[in-house]
Symmetry: C2
Subunit: 325 residues, 2 copies
Amino acid sequence: MAVYTEVSDEDLRAFVAEYDLGEVVSCKGIAEGVENSNYLLVTARGPYILTLYEKRVDPADLPFFLGLMHHLAGNGVECPLPVPARDGEALRTLCGRPAVIVTFLSGMWPRRILPEHCAELGAGLARLHLAGDGFPMRRENSLSVAGWRALLEASRGRADEVKPGLAALLEAELAHLEAHWPAGLPAGVIHADLFPDNVFFRDGRLSGLIDFYFACTDLLAYDVAICLNAWCFEPDGSLNVTKARLLLSGYRRVRPLSAEEMAALPLLARGSALRFLLTRLYDWLNTPPGAMVKRKDPLEYLHKLRFHQQVRSLGDYGLEAVPAS
Amino acid sequence: MAVYTEVSDEDLRAFVAEYDLGEVVSCKGIAEGVENSNYLLVTARGPYILTLYEKRVDPADLPFFLGLMHHLAGNGVECPLPVPARDGEALRTLCGRPAVIVTFLSGMWPRRILPEHCAELGAGLARLHLAGDGFPMRRENSLSVAGWRALLEASRGRADEVKPGLAALLEAELAHLEAHWPAGLPAGVIHADLFPDNVFFRDGRLSGLIDFYFACTDLLAYDVAICLNAWCFEPDGSLNVTKARLLLSGYRRVRPLSAEEMAALPLLARGSALRFLLTRLYDWLNTPPGAMVKRKDPLEYLHKLRFHQQVRSLGDYGLEAVPAS
């Protein structure tokens, strides 16, 4: 559930008057996303998305996010394109918050993941990685391995409230990842949060990627590992190897993964599982029960972490044991 | 905040396939309304609103509500028109709930009420009342005077938690209203919930009336009294007599109010204030603090009730003391 900021019709009219978008026809808050306030804005020119950035987004990061969307859309990625006002600026202020209008993407995100979605997603993720090449800005990933210890410290004292022994397990896993995190793999722009609700499909084909507000500069294969965790596990906690195989092969058809990237996948998947486990754990322990945000179960990612800890070969992901990139 | 039911893309596609609306392009939950789940559905034919009726709406009332919207739209009222599927039926089932697609209305509801809005609203309400003439179905107003005692009983024991002395005040007011409620005034279809978020404007002109799920058969002037309470008081609790005068004169230009209706206005306004005070009190006492619904302050309507209790002539509503209908 979102929409934290109520925009008055008068403020909106004055805001939109600075664009070449014609008159405001309608504007309705969208009940999706939890970080920002999103509105479906219809003007005489058609539908757009209006986003107001709430306090969880650092305004200093916005030029990176908006510049990236501009770069990616210009390189053929199906993502929202920030719309500049008449003065050329896309990043503006509305109701005291940073605000932007972006283009509207058709399609719906899949509530039930089918194997075909994973194949499309893999190819779309690879296209995103290729299109990010040449984007001149950098943004460190504060939610990668270097940031996890601070995240663990913030929850360690209460982690065992969620599950006895969890603090020790997280400590051991983090030590292992810090000692073995790969260096030297191909890096570039990653989405870093490509969960199903950020991917639109139409007629079974990927029609849009949204929500670039965790995007950063990091290992490309780590983005693949995030998607493996987000798309390929069934509600019962088991990995669907067909989905994993289709995701990876869809990706590799567009951007081949090197032998080193393939070999690092289980470790990257452990890292991705730990990352979402730690942020969900923090939110779980720190979200008041009455907040209008649905808390996500951290233990879902504990199960995924344990799966990857036990992976012995890439065959466990539905691939041939010897990667043929 | 709304959207209680999550509709899968697959269920939606099968649902929309029964209409002549073309392919689904997009469907996003709308973060407005609290009674039902509303989606902005875009198909190849354009934008529509998809509503799933949640448990607060009695399915037995739906033929009245949908039939009324059909009747009103056919008589020139700017209201949503239920869209029939190919078999001619507009009322269908989706995700186990009654569901309907209605036409999309442009405009935005006013966050800050200006006097001009009240003039437009008055005329629009009168057009609705005239257009309702000839609608053959009836629906009793369970939230009018005959229903208030049961509503008071449900909260009486805890009313003083909200304000000491409130239970006795409500009891005395209800006794007065039961003894003096007018009979014989013109009756017909009323909206019964025409708050600002149910009225759209575009360029300062009324462009749409929505949310007919409290509509019923009752005194037409009672609907005027509801709007007087909902539109003409300022945040500091005072009545804005300019707004009241514009609302009433806007109404009377389209549908004259009889001397009896004018004389009854203060009592009807007291009744309307008591009705919203009682339902808000009940919700206040019975909504768990963690519910994803914003509770509305019952005492706002206590202040309005007290205002109307002290009205001595129609001059207090900004009109000449002797009504000239």
